[in-house]
Each structure stands twice: as structure tokens, then as C-alpha cells.
């Protein structure tokens, strides 16, 4: 428990240090406008990282996520812009396609035992090539003639101020209700629960954070819909990995695959399922990231798989599988998104950005090993 706290605390300190540094260098970092932008960038990074979590839990990896993001966004953009397909239909087609392709990769990994690293490395190259083929190396906007559609709104729609507060209220009520239910449940089975006062303080702090986010984003245009999407995906993935048999199987496979087999865990199906889910997440991230750029270009999604892996690892996910939480991944994604956002504000050169991203990734793994040693 002590170790755990050390780890969490050092990550929190790291985040605060990053924020303090950027705020000192570029005071505009803490402006409502920038924080709103940051929240959209966070949403894009975090959604993909949550998908990556689901793949990492059973000890797999997806290196093709970034180029998949580019491809899925490109397919949807091309359908909308060149073929006049209605945006919702285009998104659905691209998403279904992604789920199918990722399921196939999962099947090759789980049944044919092609190592995930190699399979998805191959996918990385293939999808990048297909991406450029699909957009014919041009810039393909996500909407015709500067208008709006479901696709473009993914990162440009903001909830009205009142709706934002209403949503925050609902979220807080839901969180408190589920926390109290869990507490009652533990008590009814005679398990120890935290002191009531501590629980109250935790919930109070959480509620404050939710409202703080809404207040800050309302200071610009309102709560970005992308952030709401992230919230939904986070709740969904959290429920999936902690409270469904499928999620338990993922942890079991990552923890000890041989024991999982003997225990009757459907190992193959679980791994294929994880990749199928990843396909959906890749498509969703692709739509958001492409919408954020306004158009599909040859660089959309490039290297995003590494940001996703970094976010997971910073958040305490084990690359060997079996360990990782949604909350941790959200935290890791916030660190990665803050770094990228701050460096962009400071007009750091792309070269330096790459070096910083890579260093943070290596540093996070090193820290994880150091802090996780005695566990």
C-alpha cells in the first residue's frame, strides 16, 4: 500500500511540475481557452490509451494503433468529401471496418500465435500505406465547404453552459451513488470499509474536480463534446475490465496465461475480443484526431500508438500484462497531453518534441520498474 502511494504521489508531483513549468514559461497555458484545447487533446490521447490498456492487460500490444487512427479517419473523410456519403454512415462504415480488421489481427495473434509485436508492426506499415493510398496523398477535409457534420463536430461541438453544469451534477450524483452502494455492499459482507469521513472527503474532492473542469471549460465555449466522449469511454472501459467476466479474463491471461487456460478461461476469444474493441477505439480516435486537424492528411495519427503506450505505462499499466487501471491511464494521458500541448505553446521545434516524447516514455518505464520492484 505504501509503495502504491509513493508511485501515485510521484506521478502527481510530476504532473504539477509540468504544469508549473509551462505556466511559468507561457502564462497562456492556464488560460480557459488553452485548457479547453488541452481537454480535447487529452480526450483524443486518452481514448486511444484506454483501448491500448485493454490490449496490454492480457500481455499483448498494438503498434498499429497510430496508423490505424490515420486510416480510419481517412476512410471516413474520403467517403464524406469525395463520395458524398452522409457523415454518420461514413463513420459507421469506417468503424465497422476497423473492428473487423482488428478482430482478424487478434485472431492471427491468438490462434496462429503470431507475436503481437510483429503482427501489429506489420499492421503499422500496411495501414500507413493504405492511409496514403486512400487519400491519394492529398488533404481531405472532414466536411464539404466549411460546413458542419457529425464528423467535424466531434471536436468542435461544445455543450451549452447550463447543459455542462447539469451533466456535472448528474456525474457527481452517479459517482456518489455508486460509491455509497459499494460501501454498503462491503459492509453487508462484513468487510472493512474506509472511515466515513475519508470517503466523504474523497468524494468531495472528486466532485470539486468535476465542477472545476466544467467551470474552466465554460469559461471558454463550454464542455467540449470530445471530453464527454472520453468520460463515456472511460466509464465503459472501467466497467468492462473490472466488472465483466471478459475483463477478469484479460487480467488473468496477463497475470498467468497457463493458469488461465487450466481455469477454463477462453483465452483465444478474450484476446480476439480485446483487439476487436481496440479496432473500435482506433476508429473513434481516428475520427476525433482527424476532425481536430480538420482534414485527413498523411501525418494524422503518426506515432500516436507510442503516446498511448506511454500514457498506459505512466499510469501504472504493466507491459507484461495483468496490471493496469482506467484511472491510472487517464492520469498518464493527462501527462502526455499536457507535455505536447505545452511544448506546442512554447513553439518547441518538432525535433525537440520527438526527443521529449521519447525520453518521457523511457523515463516512465524506468520509474515503473524502480517503483514496482518490491511489489
Amino acid at each position: 500500500m505504501n509503495r502504491f502511494a509513493t508511485r501515485e504521489l510521484s506521478m502527481l508531483v510530476a504532473l504539477l511540475a509540468i504544469w508549473a513549468f509551462f505556466a511559468w514559461q507561457e502564462p497562456v497555458f492556464l488560460s480557459a481557452r488553452n485548457l479547453s484545447l488541452l481537454s480535447v487533446e487529452l480526450a483524443v490521447t486518452a481514448v486511444l490509451a484506454l483501448g491500448m490498456l485493454v490490449v496490454l492487460l492480457p500481455g499483448q500490444i498494438d503498434l498499429s494503433a497510430g496508423s490505424g487512427v490515420g486510416l480510419a479517419g481517412a476512410v471516413a473523410a474520403v467517403l464524406v468529401f469525395w463520395h458524398d456519403v452522409p457523415a454518420p454512415v461514413a463513420l459507421l462504415i469506417a468503424a465497422l471496418g476497423a473492428v473487423l480488421v482488428w478482430s482478424a489481427m487478434g485472431a492471427l495473434i491468438a490462434i496462429e500465435r503470431i507475436p503481437a509485436f510483429i503482427m501489429t508492426l506489420g499492421g503499422l506499415l500496411v495501414f500507413r500505406g493504405l492511409h496514403w493510398l486512400v487519400i491519394e496523398n492529398q488533404t481531405v477535409p472532414v466536411v464539404v465547404g466549411g460546413g458542419q457534420n457529425v464528423y467535424s463536430l466531434l471536436t468542435t461541438y461544445y455543450l451549452p453552459v447550463v447543459a455542462g453544469y447539469a451533466l456535472a451534477g448528474l456525474a457527481v450524483v452517479a459517482i456518489v451513488a455508486s460509491a455509497l452502494a459499494a460501501r454498503r455492499r462491503r459492509q453487508s459482507y462484513g468487510f472493512a470499509v474506509d472511515d466515513g469521513e475519508i470517503t466523504f472527503l474523497q468524494l468531495f474532492a472528486l466532485a470539486q474536480m468535476v465542477f472545476l473542469v466544467v467551470i474552466v471549460t465554460n469559461g471558454y465555449r463550454g464542455v467540449p463534446i470530445a471530453l464527454v466522449i472520453l468520460g463515456l469511454v472511460a466509464v465503459l472501459v472501467h466497467q468492462l475490465v473490472t466488472n465483466t467476466p471478459f475483463g477478469r479474463y484479460l487480467y488473468a491471461i496477463g497475470g498467468n496465461e497457463e493458469a488461465a487456460v487450466v481455469s477454463g478461461v477462453p483465452v483465444r476469444n478474450a484476446i480476439i475480443g480485446a483487439y476487436a474493441l481496440m479496432g473500435g477505439v482506433v476508429a473513434l480516435t481516428g475520427f476525433m484526431q482527424t476532425a481536430y486537424s480538420g482534414a485527413s492528411t498523411s501525418t494524422v495519427g503518426s506515432l500516436m500508438e507510442l503516446d498511448a503506450v506511454a500514457a498506459c505505462v505512466i499510469g501504472g499499466t504493466s507491459l507484461r500484462g495483468g496490471r493496469g487501471t482506467v484511472l491510472g491511464v487517464l492520469f498518464g494521458a493527462l501527462i502526455m497531453a499536457s507535455l505536447l500541448n505545452g511544448m506546442t505553446l512554447m513553439a518547441v521545434s518538432p525535433e525537440a518534441k520527438y526527443i521529449a516524447r521519447g525520453s518521457v516514455l523511457a523515463l516512465a518505464v524506468w520509474l515503473d520498474l524502480r517503483l514496482g520492484k518490491d511489489r
Binding site: 467476466p245 481455469s263 478461461v265
Partner: protein
Amino acid sequence: MSERIVLEARDVVKRFGAVTALGGVSFDLRAGEVHALCGENGAGKSTLIKLLAGVHPHGSYEGEIQVDGKTAEFHSTRDAERAGIAIIHQELALFPDMTVGENLFLGTFPQRFGRIDWDRVYAQSAATLADCGIQLDPAVRVGDLGLGQQQLVEIARAVGRKPQVLVLDEPTAALARHETDTLLDLVRRLRSRNVACVFISHKLDEVFAIADRITVLRDGCAQGTLTAAETDASEIIRRMVGRRIEDHYPRRQSTPGRTLLALRGVDVKAPGDGALALHGIELEARAGEVLGIGGLMGAGRTELLLHLMGLWGTRARGAVELNGRPLLARNPREALAQGLALVTEDRKRFGLVAQQGVTFNVSLSSLRSLRRGFFVDRDREAGHAKSIVEELRIKAQGLEQPVGTLSGGNQQKVVLGKMLLTQPKVLLLDEPTRGIDVGAKLEVYELINRLTAAGQAIVLVSSELGELLGMSDRIVMLCAGRIGGTFDRSEATQERLLAAAMGRLERAA
């Protein structure tokens, strides 16, 4: 043998969590002696030599280790190697795709102008091998050698580093007779050069053939050090066994009901080469009955259980019936669904997700039946886990304690609990009491009684004849993949079981 003490452990205590593996053991080793360590599985032999070899670093144990009369603080196996202690583990650490010569010199290759001097590697390898009395071509790939020869290469590698102390952990377990002789000769040769050897073996004839002194361990405590010439095998066995409560087998028989598991003329092909590994297996387990399965190493006991679960081999002939219906299991999932469950011998590898908690592990095999809609019903899950913990008396700090930190006995109970939650008709237990303490053993036996009283059938595989005799209602002995004999409890004796296991059962009587 000189009187100079080269290595000494003083009152060492080593604990793993709540389990005390060594409870204050003192042990000394003199230059030029072969000192045997004897004791049953779990007596603490391996733990002791791991302390001496720096596997368990200084600070993780109490007491003191001295080398040449000076306190030694090994922080890693390298420290121990530098102090001249070489250890040969049961699991070989050779590189199968490299030659004997490469294996001997790995890490210490002689070089010339920055390149490896291969001529010298092979010349010196040949010299080292000859020196050890091993007839082997150093240019042969290690993977092409038999296990016995590999063992000799491993020893030659250690000898090449000119150790002061050589520790051999069951070096002869996998060796044929003539290979064992070569190995014992090698040990004698080392002794004549004043190397001190620690020799661990279960085979007492070997111990008496080679050892100068013998230290017996039991339940983590030294039971005396004896001079080999002044004692005999029965004295050693008496000290190894002591007076043990696990000799009490509390089997309560119940009247057997209908047949739950039946194998009729089952032939099974091994995976890989496809050769027949099990021949014409006939056996039955009835409700309320414990069917014991015994046999020597490699007789096919574990393979038979794994085959039933759909984990091993393909059936060439014969039929398996579970509860009156043909058993169709291509994997454990299907076997569990039909009411067959297995507790494996290697619980760490096949039984537990170590970093997860008790609840997670206990419910892993029955999550589907614990569903409410899409979700696992956490309330029912926690309730089931709690009742299992209480029923099996699993000692854990709460239901979320990672099972990797539990003691062996409690880990075994977690695996048992997981299988019980699937409500099997027939429970297959492969060495269920191996490596767990005496109290936990008794609890496993009591559990077997409760399960059979409730009408389940138990198939108990054990390599301890006492356990088979004490806990089974009927016993099947396997011998090289065939049935060597089937016995009722009343007609079984240790001698007859052993004879059946060795294929020498007289059909009379």
C-alpha cells in the same frame, strides 16, 4: 578431509511471509569433504543452499554465513561465485544451441586481438573435460546431448572456474546408472583436490557411496550431522521422517454410489511425436469414493489427468464417460462445464494468478455463472469467496490479498476453492499435498472426506505411497502408461503397490 572449515552457516532463519522455511539451522563444510544434505521435500534443503549461493541476499535472512571464518554478505549470486562457491541447480542453465566449448567458456572467452580465440576455447574445453573424466567432443551442440551428459557439462563448467565449494542439488535425479557413476567419480576427483562439496540427493545409496558427513533436515530444522561411516540408511530415514502427524490419514469411507467417471480401454497419443503414451486405461470412480492413482515418475499419471481435461494428447481408442454421458472436452473450459475439475500439481504455474487477490482467483473459473446481465455480480462473488475462505480456512489478510504472498498451503486451498466453486462431479487432484505444511495437509484430507460424503468422486494422484494407502478407497497403479494393477483398500500394501508400479505384480492371490 581436513579440519579447515571453508563455509559455515550459523543459526540461519529464513521466512517466506508467514512460513518459516529454515528455523535456525547451523551447517559447516570442511575443505575436501563431501557433505550430504538429506530431507524430504520442503525440509529446507533448497532454501539452505540458496542462502549459501546468494540467491536469497544478505539481509533477507537472520543468522550468519561465514566463508573461511569471515562473515560473508552475499548480495547476489555473483558475490557468492567470487567467494568461490559454485552451485549446480536442478534446472540446467545451459544454452542448447551452443557447443559444449562455448557453454564452458561463456562469459570468460579467451581473446586474441579482441576476437575470440576459438582454438584456445576448444583446446581448453577438451582439457577441462578430460580433467573431469568426461568423454565428450567440445564441438558438439549441447542440445544434441542427453540429459545426463548435459549435467556433466554443467558440472565441468563450474569446475572450470576452480571453485572452493561446489553445491550439487539432486544432480543424479535424471541420470542413468552409468552416468551417475561418472558423476560420482567426478565428485571424488574434486574431493581429492580439496574442493568441498555439498551433495543433495534423495537416493540414500548414492549418499552413502559418496558422502563423508550427512546433515539431516526436517521441517526447516537440522536433525543432526552424522559421520557417514558411523551411521546407516535406517538411521537417516528415522531422522528425516521423525514422528509426523501426516502419517495420520483421516479417511472416512462412505458407501460408493453410481459410477461418475469411467475410462474404457483408452489409448492416448502423445502430442508431438504421436506415439502411444497411454495404453488401454480402464478405471472407474464412483460417487463418494476416492480413487488413488500411483506410479513411478513418468508412468503417465499427470498426463492421464491432463488428457481428461483436454490439455494433453489425442485419444486414439476407447471411451470416457462422465456421469453416464460421453465426456467431450477439447479444453479445460469444456471439461469444467461438464463437471470435471483439476487441481494441478504445479499450482504456481497452472493454478494461480499471483498478483491478483483471493476473490479474483477463487471466482476465475465460475465467472459465467456469477453473472448478472453483462456484469459479474460482485455481491454474490464476494459471498462465494468469503464462504470458500471460511470453509477451507484460508488464512489471508482480507479477500484482496495477492495470492502470490500466501503460504503454500493457503495457495493450494485457493486453487481447490476455485475448482470447488465450479461444483464438479469429479475432482481430479494431482499431488494436492506436495510442498504444503502438515496442518494444511490434514485440512486437505478433511476436505476430501467432506466432498466424498457429499457424493462427489475424487481422483487422487500421489507419489507418496502412504498417502495413497491412507486416503484412497481403491488404488490404480500405472506403469509406463499401462495399468500395473488395481487394488481395493483392504488388499493394498506398500509392497504390492510398488511391485505393480514396477510392472512386477504377481497375478496370484
